[in-house]
Amino acid sequence: MDLSIMIPELLSALPLTLAITFTAMVAGFVLALIATTFRVRRIPVISHLADLYVSYARSVPVVLQLFVAFYGLPVFVDIFGAEDFVSPTVAAILGLSLYHGGYLSEVLRPAYLAVERGQHDAADSLGYSFRQKLLCVLAPQAVHIALPGYGNAIIYLIHNVALVMYIGAADVMATAHLVMERDYNQYQFETYLVLAVLYSVLCLAAWLIVRYFELRSAKFAPRAAPARATLMASV
């Protein structure tokens, strides 16, 4: 096994992996904001749909969500009569965005609710609109509470990007399989060890970035902030 050949080859697939991660991160965040807004405001039917979406994203395995996106998207596109443009990468981004949005909504909602009740009441009594209340009073405090959970969510997203190879997107895992097969599957264990190190480094980088913001946002924290991240894996 020649590491000096294998590692550059694996790294050549890293841009696509990171692109999927970042797109899913941004789209998932937007989805999570929308879902969380509907869930905390309790609008009759829409809130229940948002609840259903979140429980779909959280209780169904990510592989299965990816497959549903992969096979469901063409059907969905067909209904609107559009041309079938769906590639595995698009399906992977869609599936992961839906997953990340649902997971993140369950981080943002408790953070929103964890801001002290008095702060909500004070903002309401001063006649703040929902948007003003959110932006001026709640968001700065909720950000600090949500950041540890957000860091976890990002790490799980990076973990789950490893699954997109099953629907045929050419990410790092898929490239690793190509490399292994070229060597007649002699070095599978070693290749996976390299992958393990690679993913650990990615997660470490993500964690350090989130950690930086966590320390910076500490100034908005109330004295005894219940900043506790749910430390549970997400598959």
Partner: protein, 230 residues
């Protein structure tokens, strides 16, 4: 493109994989909770060297995706087992290890790192004033643990334990990469026979959501029944 007639036969076929999946999930859950509790006790009691080892273990297994761990176990476990058994002089062909054993070992290793966190959180939620009270009443350490600590710690851990059971259920779906047939793998097999992929996967989605709902309900009821009323 979407056929409703195929849903019912698909459902019947995929439901057949539910008992096995639940059994495997239960096995992983019990094993990982035992190992995780040991880890948590090591951290709670601040045992010198073991504590650093536990932290290293947790860092290693939290940073790596579970698929990678499963593949590592798949390719690494048989030869490791063979080597270990040859040390004690037993002749065992490691490559005859069934795949579901490999999957259970890999998932237990992963989930134990998270279970340690759950149990540690529950232990930390324990009010130390009660420990002082128990000591002042002449309780021994083992009595304190069994009569005061355990009942409260278990109740405090129930929501997280239910959560981790669902995580295990979902993690088992990664087993299809090493030919272990759970709900997800069964839906794939069913779909491969009649080419109705979306239908089979949607049936699997419904089954997973139903199981998640049942697990949360059971956890909520148990928690309400066990919680000490104050």
């Amino acid at each position: 493109m979407f056929d409703i007639d195929v849903l019912l036969p698909d459902l019947r076929e995929i439901l057949g994989a539910v008992p096995l999946t639940l059994a495997m999930a239960l096995a992983v859950f019990v094993l990982s909770t035992i190992i995780g509790s040991l880890f948590a006790m090591v951290e709670y009691r601040r045992v010198p060297v073991l504590r650093q080892l536990v932290v290293a273990y947790k860092v290693a297994f939290k940073g790596v995706p579970m698929v990678v761990v499963i593949f590592l176990a798949y390719y690494g476990l048989p030869s490791t087992l063979q080597f270990l058994t040859s040390l004690v002089g037993v002749d065992y062909n490691g490559h005859s290890t069934p795949n579901w054993v490999t999957l259970i070992v890999a998932l237990t290793a992963c989930v134990a790192a998270f279970q340690a966190e759950v149990v540690k959180g529950a232990l930390n939620s324990f009010d130390t004033g009660q420990a002082d009270a128990a000591y002042s009443l002449g309780y021994k350490k083992s009595q304190l643990f069994r009569r005061v600590m355990l009942p409260q710690v278990i109740v405090a851990a129930i929501p997280d334990l239910a959560n981790s059971f669902m995580v295990i259920m979902k993690a088992l779906s990664l087993g299809f990469a090493i030919e272990v047939v759970d709900i997800f793998a069964q839906s794939q097999l069913t779909a491969a026979l009649n080419f109705y992929y979306l239908e089979a996967f949607l049936v699997a989605v419904v089954i997973y959501m139903a199981i998640a709902y049942a697990v949360t309900q059971i956890a909520d009821r148990t928690e309400r029944a066990l919680r000490v009323r104050t």
